[in-house]
Amino acid sequence: MVIRKAFMTSLPVMAGYIVLGTGFGILLRSAGYGALWALAMSLFIYAGSMQFVGVSLITGAASVLTTAVTTVMINARHLFYSISMISRYKDAGKVKPYLIFALTDETYTLLSDGKIPEGADPDAYRFLVSFFDHCYWVLGSVLGSFAGEFLPFDSTGIEFSMTALFTASFVEQWLSAGSHLPALTGLLSTALCLVLFGPENFLIPSMILITVILSALRGRIATPESRKSDGRREEK
């Protein structure tokens, strides 16, 4: 049965999404935003790293421009997941808009090999895998939000989970990347802009500097083999 097959495929994502979703819900609660906010963000944004950064954007009352540009930079990789799925999702019919909307790093990883279990309808199968993943993420966030309200311990310092998420992802990419130039460009450009522009205004200059440097380095960096491996551990 296609439901059972899709559920089995989605199992590896379940633990990760529920744990990280819970972390997001707790963090959002500790920033003063409750379950409805967690629900809305996980339902409609549905992008892990972005939602963690979103908590700081919201609490820091960032401008609309900063928020939009930051979202573009953090989520730019989704362009490439979509590009590689264009032909696969071409004839998906009614579920196509949802399949595109729900194409996170993990769902992409599960579906990008193009394999469909024997006898399963491809569209139904892809829809259900996408939908189950989305459910885990929303469920985790809302659980975390409620858990955050009744935490039996002092949650001071829980905001470090976001730093830990990106540090783990940075190290993972560092270990699997062919060239360390992109990672170093990101670290050093941002550190420089932090010193030059201060902690309130350095994000947009950093993103411009990174794009300029990486464009200048084009041809000198061995093209990463990587769109696939990039995303795998990257988010949530």
Partner: protein
């Protein structure tokens, strides 16, 4: 609409746009420009580096405890990740260490 709700809407709209854009532009006939493919392969690594610095932007190195909880916890996350290659374990371990450090020691 509160400013926070506006920002959530902006994040959602931009994310949705990014996911849909290729389906609207690069239909089967048109090839993706190689510059775009290059940036797509390479940007994620740089952006994660940027986000690490972004998360640590408020760390005060000058006055006590001189960013020591952050330095120790980031090192712990990195070491755990290099050792076990398990992101959830690294995140959990580093966060628990940081919470213990700021609550009990510093």
């Amino acid at each position: 609409m509160s400013h926070a709700a506006l920002l959530v809407a902006v994040m959602a709209a931009v994310t949705i746009l990014l996911r849909f854009l290729p389906f609207l532009i690069f239909t089967n006939g048109r090839k993706t420009p190689s510059y775009i493919l290059y940036l797509g392969g390479i940007l994620p690594q740089a952006i994660v580096g940027m986000l690490v610095v972004y998360c640590l932007r408020e760390t005060d190195l000058v006055s006590a405890p001189h960013g020591l909880p952050e330095i120790l916890s980031v090192a712990a996350v990195a070491a755990l990740q290099a050792w076990k290659r398990n992101s959830l374990l690294s995140i959990l371990g580093g966060t628990v260490l940081y919470m213990l450090l700021v609550q009990l020691i510093f």
